[in-house]
Each structure stands twice: as structure tokens, then as C-alpha cells.
Amino acid sequence: MKLTHRFPPHIRSRENNVTVMGDAVLALLPLYFMACFFYGPRAAALGILSVLVCFVSDLLCQKLAGRKIGVIDLSPVVTGLIIPLLLPASIPYSIVVVADLFAILVIKQPFGGLGQNIFNPAAGGLAFVTITWPNLVFRYTAPFEKLPLFGEITARLVASPAYQLKMGGIPYRDFTDMLFGNFPGPMGATNILVLATCLIFLVVRKSANGKAALAFLGTVTVFAFVFPRIDGARLQSVFYELCSGILLFGVVFFLNDPATSPKREASKIIYAAIAGAVTMLYRYFGGFEEGMVFAILLMNAFAWGIDMCCEQWISRERRKRLEKKSEKL
């Protein structure tokens, strides 16, 4: 038996890098199960390929930087699992590989690897692919369509509800179909109920911040209610805005990224609220039907500023309170 000597305080928290990332992996796996249910084995193949590419490129970069590779954290696995879930199931394998390589080699490792990256790697890779091949990224196959593992995809490609909203129409999907994810869209971002369960799981495990998620969703709700894109149907507009695109997926996995979001609770809430407004502005005035990845990248750049402002504000408030106390004495 090996005994190690440690000085107090003995913190018995279970949290470290591996557990936080492990929670994210656990939350992502049911989404893969649903994707396989809707689109067949091609979804799983995309995920496995993406994880392999991310993991190997991350390892090579760490080796190149001369870092000791002892503890293997799961962050490249999380990046690799997120990227295919936000792309259609009919996407060619090469595009997923390009997104992975861009995420790891350009967004993550040049800044110093895990914990030092300014931008969310998965969001960066997806943004690059979106700008490069918008025709392929925003055309989806209908659910329950048989997709071959290899070769040309001959299935019919259709537009998603987000596109119909962008064009000023009303999505013809009904309430239950939207909740169960039975509508064309990104592979893993359509299952609203599963995503809500993932969010609750992560909040209970304290890997995600529930208040920030509520702030984001609240801003989006208010925005959609005050400026509805479906004329005369405010509640319907709110429902479709919340369920279409990658909005809920982004709330669960991008907004609570421990490396790129602000650190304080108050600043997290402000960050989430502004991110919600920016996402809606991208949807209303942007060139693409879904701009959440761009909104997240933009907000990542301002995370330190929000943190600093909140820090100053809180310390000023605390000083005022102390002065009042001393006056009373």
C-alpha cells in the first residue's frame, strides 16, 4: 500500500478536469443514441471518426509543444463529440475532419491548450465549416431516412424550421414532433426533451450553471415575444424560436464551457443574457439561418471584460456597505 503525505486543508471535492469533461461526455452520449435512432449507423461513424481525429491531433500538438503527456483529459473527446452533432447527418466525412483539425490546430492549441484557449474550439471549427460550405451545412435529410455508411448520399435534402422562420414562413411541424426531435435539423440538436434532460443533469452535477442558462433562454423568450417573426402569433413564435436551430444545444454545451466563459456567477449571468440577444440579432439580421456559433465566439472575446467589470462593481458595492457599517458604529 502506498501512503502519501498531504498538508491540510483536506478538500474532498470530487471535481477535477476529468470529471467535468466526463460529465459532458455522459451528457453527449444519449444524443448520439437519438441520432443513431433517427439517421442510422452513419451518425455513430461520424462521431467515432471525429473523436479519433481530435484526440490524435491534440496528442500530437502536446508532444510538439514538449509537454509531458501523463494525465489524459477528455477535452478533445468532448470537442470531437460536439462537432458532428451540430452538422447534418448527410455531411461528408472530409468536412467533419476539416472542422476537427481547425478546432484543435488553430483555435485550441496555439493559445496553450486546455484552459488557456480564448475561443470555444468546437464553436470555432463549426464557424469555419459554416463559412466555407454553407450549402452543405444547412441542408438536412428528413428523419428516418436510410443513409448509406459510405459513398454518395442520394437522400432528399430539405430545409429546417430555422430556415422557414428566416424566410418569414411558419414551420408546419406540430408541437409533439418539435419536442421529440422528429424534424429535419442538425443531428443532435433537434431532440429538445433529451437536451433539457442533459441540462438538468449537468446542473445537478454542478458542471453547468442553471442561472446562466435561464438568463439566456429568458432573453431569447423576451426577444421572440416582443419582436415575433411570425406575424400575430407571439407564443407560437417563442416556441419555434426556442426549439429550432442549435439554440438549446448551445445553451447546454457552449455557454457553460469552463475554459471560455466568465468565472463569477454575476458575470456568467450577464454574459449569458448578452449572448442570447446577440444570437437573436444574428438570426434576425445575419446572412445564415443560425448564428449561435458566431454569437458564442463573439461573446468569448468579451468574457474577460465582463469578468473585470463585475469584479470592480462588486468590490465597490462591498466597500460602500463596509463604510455604512463603520458609520453606524
Binding site: S94, V98, V106, P110, F128, I131, T132
Partner: protein, 217 residues
Amino acid sequence: MKKSLKNYREAMSRTRGIFAQNPVLIGGLALPIAIMGTTSLMNAVALSIAAFATIVPLMLVASTAGKYIPLNLRRTCYVLLAAAILCGVSYPIGKISPGIFDSLGIYYSLMAVNTILLYRTETYAHHASPLAAVVDGLRNSLGFSLVICVMAILREVVGKGTLWGRPVQTAIVLPSVLLPFFGFIFLGMCCAGAKGLSHLMKSRLIRDKLRGNMQGE
């Protein structure tokens, strides 16, 4: 081993502006031109010609006549002269391709106020002899053209699948490489590469020197 260090320093001072102290990669000058003008090799070559044509004569002017111009008028004079030269040079540059000025846009005219020109004339040419100033101008324009030509070749082949307008066999074509954001990323990577290379050379030299000292003892 002392001799090798001396040789290294001499080589560095001789290539100042080309490899050591490159105006774009180390100095961070003329960034908008290096990013926006490198979408094709034709653009880069046109900008290189413009750089040679403006920087070299103006270094000569600054080192000879710079003392006689009042301080607050100097930069204005240089910029006006550079603009006049650019007007003349636009005739041979137009022969490269008919649409060259459309694809260059504002960035051809911006060469008149390009930061390499202003920086080198202010900091170096006023104190140097005319010959040294001209050589410095040549080195800096060569360094600038090398960087933008290499960047343009890579971006054109990957982004358009062509080189000098002719199609080239490539594995994958990424149109977004031509957008400005990738220019920034790519230039940053080039800067990091240049810095890493010089660091490697220096560290190797110091190691050699230390080893030599030990053997001497």
C-alpha cells in the same frame, strides 16, 4: 566558437529587414496590405513592385533632402511623392492583368501611406548616408515582398485551387481561406514560425558556444 557567434551576428546584421527584423513578421508593419493583398499571387506581385518603387527612392530622398524640409511637413512631402510615384508605376502594373486594380481595390493606393515607408524614413534614413539608406530600403522591400508572395501562393492554392490564374491539382479547396479572418490567423502563424526559428538558431548557437568553452577549459 566565438568566431561562429560573430559570423552569426554579421549575417544577421547583413540580412536585417529580410530575415532578422522583417518589417511584417517581426515589426508588425503594413498589416492591412499583407492581409488583404495576399488573396492571389498577381496581387502580391503588384504590391511588391509598388513597395520597391516607393520605398527605395524615398529612402534616398529622406537621407539627402530630409534635413532641409521642415519637420511638420516631412511626412506630408513623402506621402505626396509616394502617391506621384504610384501613379507612374500603375502603368506597368496594369499590364500584369486587366482586372488587377479592381481586385486590389483601395490597397494599391494605401501603399502611399504604407507604414514601412514612414517608419524606415523616420527612424533610419535621416541619420544614414544615402547608400546605406538605399540598401536598407531594398532589404525592407525584399523582406515585405517575400512574406506577401509566400502567403499569397499558399492562400491562392488552398483557397481558389489556382496559381497565377492557372488551375492547380489540390486535394481540397477551402474558399474561406481568402477571407480576411483567415489572413489574420495565417499571418499570426507565420509570425510565430519566424520567432520560433530565430529562437531555435540563437539557442543552438549559445549551446555550441557553451560546449566550446568547456572544451577549452
